[in-house]
């Protein structure tokens, strides 16, 4: 009995690294069956997450073939978006998306990084906790509520105060021409900057905190003031901060509801920030249920695909940057 067992065991031991035996050995040799089932079960769900992203890309590609075939690359460079005559060019909405996101970053980046500096370098513990909580609260408000607030509070304020002021100050600037409607690029950029700010500030704070304290001590020892120390820390965390900004950009590009509600929804390219504009996300939100032909629907799905690809690229770059800074100090 024990002898035969030993023979079998030796047999498996000898051959456990040979392919057909490896599987059997793993199944019955050294592993508990429950362990194996559990590991494979969780693996299945992990694979599911992996496949989900690929499936999303494939689904959108296969449902936008009509428009990809008809317009080709010109889809991205043509500036006519005319559902009535079934001509779809995405340039105006791509322009609107890029300009509104970049403008929002111009407002949100200096503020966000200043907040991060305050939270990471200056604030005493009793102030840092509630402030971090409040900025996270800002990130947790649903986007549609930002939009609601935008329509009834921000837009009237922009129309009655900000835009007349800008037109008075810069009467000849091409950026502030036209009637002040309120609804338009400027309102969208302001609301986006409020929404992006918590992301930039909280990730920047984490990045700054990952810079080891010895760096600061070294600078203090040389007689640097607090601000000079902060500058050194900021320099050390540069790529991570850049990553935080990119993550904010990714959020701004994909933001839908708040922008749709205040941007005015007109597919045009205009230098004036007072004019209504349109973004990729808001075209999809506004026109998807109205799409009355297959080509129209395909064009909208292709827009979603473009948005998908852009945000994936931005997110990958951002993660790599944040990761590289945090890794540097580990």
């Amino acid at each position: 009995m024990s002898k035969s067992n030993e023979i079998i065991k030796n047999y498996f031991e000898r051959d456990k690294n040979k392919k057909p035996f490896k599987l059997i050995y793993n199944l019955f040799g050294n592993k508990n069956l429950g362990d194996l089932v559990f590991e494979k079960l969780t693996l299945l769900f992990a694979i599911f997450v992996f496949i989900l992203v690929i499936l999303m890309g494939w689904e959108m590609y296969s449902h936008s073939t009509l428009s990809i075939k008809k317009f080709g690359f010109g889809f991205l460079t043509s500036s006519t978006w005319d559902p009535v005559s079934q001509v779809f060019g995405a340039l105006p909405v791509i322009y609107g998306t890029i300009v509104s996101s970049l403008l929002s970053l111009i407002i949100a980046v200096p503020l966000g990084i200043a907040v991060a500096v305050f939270l990471a370098e200056l604030a005493p513990n009793w102030l840092e906790k509630p402030l971090s909580f409040l900025t996270e609260l800002l990130a947790g408000i649903p986007s549609v509520i930002y939009g609601l607030w935008g329509i009834f509070v921000l837009v009237p304020w922009v129309r009655d105060v900000v835009e007349p002021y800008l037109q008075n100050e810069f009467p000849n600037s091409p950026f502030f021409q036209g009637a002040p409607y309120g609804f338009g690029m400027l309102a969208a950029a302001i609301i986006l900057s409020i929404m992006v700010l918590p992301i930039i500030s909280s990730i920047s704070r984490d990045v700054l905190k990952s810079v080891p304290y010895s760096q600061r001590e070294a600078a203090f020892a040389l007689g640097a003031t607090k601000w000079e120390v902060t500058k050194i820390v900021l320099g050390n965390a540069k790529s991570g901060l850049f990553g935080a900004i990119m993550l904010g950009l990714g959020r701004a590009i994909g933001e839908t509801m708040a922008v749709t509600m205040v941007i005015g929804n007109r597919p045009q390219i205009s230098a004036s920030l007072l004019d209504p504009s349109y973004t990729m996300a808001s075209v999809i939100a506004n026109e998807f249920t109205e799409a009355n032909s297959d080509l129209y629907l395909n064009a909208l799905i292709e827009l979603a695909l473009v948005l998908f690809v852009i945000t994936i690229i931005i997110n990958i770059l951002a993660r790599l940057l944040v990761w590289s800074t945090e890794r540097k100090w580990k």
Binding site: A46, V49, E121, T135, V144, I314, I316
Partner: protein, 288 residues
């Protein structure tokens, strides 16, 4: 000699001033960020509370022109959508997070981790489009199920990553203690590791649920909306967030006011969910 010391003093003064100025700027910035938060809460509460009454919670919406009515169908709809989204998203998230933390220290694990991060950065409107092509096109009509699946896709990366982080926080000695007793690994993970990390995982679930509860964009062309009472998974369903969008953009004063009320109810609902979660997790923790 005199000039040199004078110059030193100037430099010192300049450095001091820059220091004070820049630090006050960052201090000021921190408070500027809080301003919109205060404004948004102030308007939502003060404008929302005027139409907040019992009818809002028990009546169906009235047609255009008639005042009054409520949004009972939308409140129910939001709950049903969360139920479907959570029912799919939470198990998938927790199990894939468990894989990443316990078995995922290899190339495949790193890839999944990366993909989960990518997934969390995808705009919610794109998720809505995918849910449309995946569910609405084959079923040939809008449904609560399609909306729930869209919400599930949004919840998965949040739950996955928090679960992984929380499991990683469990000390290794806990696992070793289990191994020393001869307990199989799967039992150790289920009964020791997950039990210890339970509270943190619940926070991740809560984050996912509250994000899903406020989402509008992925519901616009999946769950669509419904002016009548419906609890069916296979019919279009109303939700608070879509109502806020429709009522805010409508040209009727009464609808606009109701949009504010819906916003207040939505915020209260999300806070209530987080409160319930906190109470549940606390009592669970005490028992164990």
């Amino acid at each position: 000699m005199e000039i040199k010391s004078f110059r030193k003093k100037i430099t010192f003064l300049r450095r001091k001033t820059t220091n004070v100025v820049m630090l006050s700027v960052s201090f000021f910035a921190a408070f500027v960020t809080i301003v919109p938060l205060i404004f948004i809460f102030y308007y939502t509460i003060s404008k929302g509370i005027t139409h907040l009454n019992l009818n809002f919670f028990i009546k169906l919406p009235k047609p255009v022109g008639e005042t009054g009515g409520g949004m009972v169908n939308a409140i129910m709809g939001t709950f049903i959508l969360i139920l479907i989204g959570g029912g799919i998203g939470i198990p998938v998230g927790i199990l894939s997070g468990t894989y990443l933390a316990e078995f995922g220290h290899n190339k495949f694990g790193a890839t999944v981790r990366f993909f989960a991060d990518v997934l969390s950065g995808i705009p919610s409107i794109v998720v809505g489009v995918v849910a449309y092509t995946l569910v609405v096109i084959p079923m040939k009509h809008f449904s609560a199920l399609a909306g729930g699946i869209a919400l599930a896709i949004l919840m998965i990366p949040i739950v996955t990553r928090t679960t992984e982080e929380m499991i990683n926080l469990v000390p290794h000695s806990f696992r070793e203690a289990g191994l020393a007793l001869g307990i199989p690994k799967w039992k150790i993970i289920l009964m020791i590791v997950l039990k210890t990390a339970w509270k943190g995982i619940a926070t991740g679930v809560l984050l996912g649920v509250s994000r899903a509860a406020g989402e509008t964009a992925p519901l616009l062309f999946t769950a669509l909306g419904n002016r009548f009472w419906s609890t069916s998974f296979f019919q279009p369903i109303a939700s608070l967030s879509v109502y806020i969008y429709e009522y805010a953009s409508a040209p009727y004063k009464d609808w606009n006011d109701q949009a504010w009320t819906a916003a207040l109810v939505l915020i209260l609902l999300i806070s209530l969910l987080s409160l319930i979660f906190r109470i549940i997790t606390r009592s669970k923790y005490k028992k164990s």
